[in-house]
């Protein structure tokens, strides 16, 4: 059987492929939704197995560092306990202020809970188990239970939605340094779960470890959702703006559930 290629065969093959691709992409939403509907239960099982295996592996590989990690955690724990005591005090103060101003909790976000089904191989998209049927719309913000920003809905299907992570290269939004209202910039995704804070006025003092939160300026995300920590500040005297590398707070490989902000 001689099956080597000739020009005619290749041409027919290319034309057929182009036609099929056009047709498939015309019905892309329906096709993907169809596959997701029966693959979701299997993906959930794979996700759980993967998570357990990965936890086990990292525990085995990280055994050497356990002692130093334990000391570090104990130190952090003490620091957190002090912060907790301070927060208790603040919470009481906040409560009384809310009562005084007649502000109820109904003013907080309206949230929808969803489970992560899969993660895109390019790593900056995830698929969640809530879709158009549950009132999910494009561009709705997605957060973790700790109010850490993950991304926003980029595509919706009947029962599923795609979430574009903030680290995606197409993602950019307004952000500010926590407790420094006037120190704002734009967070840009760099891909591979990396973030970058750009356009910070050079006269502002930015330090490593500063916490970056969302700003409501762009209208994309609500105010004060946690984004990340400043990892490295890049400042030159020649430029009027400075930049900083950001370490995202969310750890998508460890998250299983997310919340979608339906209204803010």
């Amino acid at each position: 059987m001689k099956t080597s290629f000739n020009k005619k065969q290749i041409l027919i093959f290319i034309v057929a492929i182009v036609l099929i691709f056009s047709l498939l992409n015309f019905f892309q939403k329906e096709i993907k939704s169809f596959f997701y509907s029966f693959s979701a239960p299997i993906q959930k099982v794979f996700w759980q197995i993967g998570e357990r295996s990965s936890n086990f592996l990292s525990a085995v590989l990280g055994a050497r560092n356990l002692k130093s990690e334990k000391d570090d955690l104990e130190f952090k724990n003490q620091k957190l306990m002090i912060q907790l005591a301070e927060l208790d005090k603040l919470e009481e103060e906040n409560k009384s202020l809310r009562q005084a101003l007649d502000l109820g909790l109904e003013k907080d976000f309206k949230l929808a809970f969803a489970q992560i089904i899969s993660k895109d191989i390019s790593q900056d998209f995830i698929l969640i188990g809530k879709g158009e049927k549950d009132g999910i719309l494009e561009n709705m913000p997605v957060i973790t239970e700790q109010k850490v920003l993950i991304g926003r809905i980029s595509e919706t299907y009947k029962k599923f939605s795609k979430v574009m992570l903030i680290s995606n290269k197409q993602s950019s939004f307004d952000a500010k340094i926590l407790n420094q209202e006037e120190c704002s910039g734009i967070i840009k995704g760099l891909g591979n779960l990396n973030l970058f804070l750009d356009l910070i006025p050079s006269e502002k003092e930015v330090f490593e470890g500063d916490i970056v939160v969302t700003s409501c300026l762009g209208g994309i995300f609500p105010d004060n959702l946690l984004v990340g920590k400043i990892k490295k500040v890049k400042k030159t005297d020649m430029e009027s703006f400075q930049q900083a590398d950001i370490k995202p707070i969310f750890d998508i490989s460890k998250s299983r559930n997310v919340f979608i902000i339906l209204d803010f």
Partner: protein, 102 residues
């Protein structure tokens, strides 16, 4: 051949599920090994250079990669077909593996 292709379609469907739900937990320096790309490359290397089955296989593999990724349908199919053809042409022109030529 259709039976064989059907078998590979099922295999690639499950590989795509494993890739997007299981393998994502095992990134090494931010990189995740891609089982589907790896399978297509290996098959095309060890397939007889006369056969075209590796190319049909690349179409099936690319299709499932596209379904479970955010790219348009066709993106990974084209990459995999291109990869399969390049491997085949390279092996046909420059490499002889005696036990595969029989």
């Amino acid at each position: 051949m259709i039976k064989k292709l059907l078998l590979f379609i099922i295999l690639f469907y499950f590989l795509a599920l494993i890739q997007t739900s299981f393998m994502v937990h095992f990134s090494v320096w931010g990189l995740i090994p891609n089982l589907i790309f790896f399978s297509v490359i290996i098959w095309n290397i060890f397939e007889r250079s006369k056969n075209n089955f590796g190319i049909y296989q690349a179409v099936a593999a690319g299709f499932f990669l596209d379904i479970f990724s955010s790219k348009i349908i066709g993106f990974n199919i084209i990459i995999l077909i291109y990869l399969a053809i390049v491997i085949k042409l390279f092996l046909k022109s420059y490499v002889r593996i005696p036990f595969l030529e029989k």
